[in-house]
């Protein structure tokens, strides 16, 4: 196991059902994620990318294979240890936002901190700061029903960051958002990446996928293609409208 990886998976598998009804949601996946890397996983619906993310985040247990996170083997962790991992080391952003309807934005964001037994005033301060960072400082006291989809997702992102996790996992974060809201989320991810946050994003939106350092294509539970997008010379944007010789690289 390479020490530089934050997350490492070998032959990771997740199966449901039995016999004829056996479904291999994740079918032998090998993955290495370095700290600070931004990885996108794309694929058609039902290809298993969400399941993979759940496995990485400790929301589900694998059926086989090995998974290391932050130096530890996840498969052997107890329920309690997994919960602690989810609490302190992983931040999850869901497509459906999953905010508590009866809590304000600030109360939603501070909840993981309270679960991590952070002092109430410290939790509240962290929540406030994070809401400022995502541009919702003036909406801290609003209920989710009073927020737009994009704003709700930004609250969810703030919530995912409140315990300063080493890994942020986002499952179709812009799936329910319009273009403008999608841009907001992309900007936040850009900032996070610039600050060194490790991100794994599952998406079917090529715009999101294109911003990643590495784009993995998934099909039928397995990785079928991997593209490294970072690096390479920066070309003039004019090539986009065919304004200079289209000699390519």
């Amino acid at each position: 196991m390479t020490n530089s990886s934050l997350v490492q998976a070998r032959a990771l598998r997740k199966e449901y059902g039995r016999g004829d009804g056996l479904v291999r949601a994740v079918d032998g996946v090998d993955l290495d994620i370095a700290p600070g890397e931004r990885v996108a996983v794309m694929g058609p619906s039902g290809c298993g990318k969400s399941t993979l993310l759940h496995l990485l985040g400790g929301l589900d247990r694998s059926s086989g294979g090995e998974l290391w996170f932050h130096g530890r083997r996840i498969g052997q962790l107890s329920e309690r240890a997994l919960a602690e991992m989810r609490r302190k080391e992983v931040g999850f952003v869901f497509q459906a936002f999953h905010l508590m309807e009866e809590l304000t934005a600030q109360e939603n964001v501070e909840l993981p901190a309270l679960l991590a037994e952070v002092r109430p005033w410290a939790a509240r301060r962290r929540a406030r700061d994070l809401l400022e960072r995502v541009g919702l400082g003036d909406r801290a006291g609003h209920l989710p029903s009073a927020l737009s989809g994009g704003q709700r997702q930004r609250v969810a992102i703030a919530r995912a960051l409140v315990n300063e996790p080493v890994l942020v996992l986002a499952d179709e974060p812009t799936g329910n958002l319009d273009s403008a809201a999608t841009l907001d989320v992309l900007r936040i991810f850009e900032e996070l990446h610039a600050a060194g946050q490790t991100l794994v994003i599952v998406t079917h939106d090529e715009r999101i996928g294109a911003t990643a350092d590495r784009l993995i294509l998934m099909y039928d539970g397995a990785f079928v293609d991997e593209t490294t997008l970072v690096g390479g010379t920066r070309r003039s944007l004019s090539t986009l409208i065919g304004l200079e010789d289209s000699a390519g690289e």
Binding site: L186, E206, R207, A210, Y219, V224, T227, L240, G248, E249
Partner: protein, 180 residues
């Protein structure tokens, strides 16, 4: 219709004009309806003048265009290779890319999958650049509107490329199976 497409269709083996026409029809299906019959001959003429193809006349036939057999010259072959590995995407010209893949597969020159992969990577990089440009622009500027259009088109093209990938990958696995 790029003349390179016609050129590439000769890469597999020499062909008569009408055979080329048939290959084009096969590849384009109903989309090839509007193809002007004469266009092929004009293109072939140009290619011949450019020295990329050469005509072999069968011995005992009179001088008739439709009996001419066209072959690639070495210069023509090189042009084909160059064209196959070109990654430019100046105007969305799906038909050209589509023919590129078919020609490559037919000629056995390059694996269509790798062509698709390379083109995908290029488009992704362009999308990434465009996306970055969008984020750098103020929301209502004219440029941001244009950039949004470019992003959306690139997104659409990428989706098609993914479909191409799946399609050609399954063709390949079918082939393998039937070969066994």
């Amino acid at each position: 219709m790029q003349q390179e497409a016609v050129l590439a269709l000769l890469a597999k083996e020499p062909a008569h004009a009408y055979q080329l026409r048939a290959r084009l029809d096969d590849a384009l299906g109903p989309l090839g309806e509007g193809l002007n019959a004469g266009h092929i001959y004009v293109t072939l003429g140009r290619l011949e003048r450019a020295g990329l193809v050469v005509v072999e006349e069968p011995c005992a036939a009179p001088d008739r265009s439709d009996r001419k057999l066209y072959t690639l010259t070495p210069a023509g072959q090189e042009r084909v290779s160059q064209w196959l590995s070109e990654l430019s995407w100046p105007k969305p010209d799906l038909a050209e890319f589509h023919l590129k893949l078919i020609a490559a597969a037919g000629a056995g020159l390059t694996d269509p999958i790798s062509i698709i992969g390379a083109q995908r990577r290029e488009l992704l990089r362009r999308l990434r650049d465009a996306q970055h440009a969008v984020m750098g622009e103020p929301a209502d500027s004219d440029a941001s509107l244009l950039l949004e259009g470019i992003v959306l088109r690139l997104q659409a093209d990428l989706r098609w490329l993914e479909a191409c990938q799946r399609n050609w990958a399954s063709r390949r696995s079918n082939h393998r199976r039937s070969d066994q």
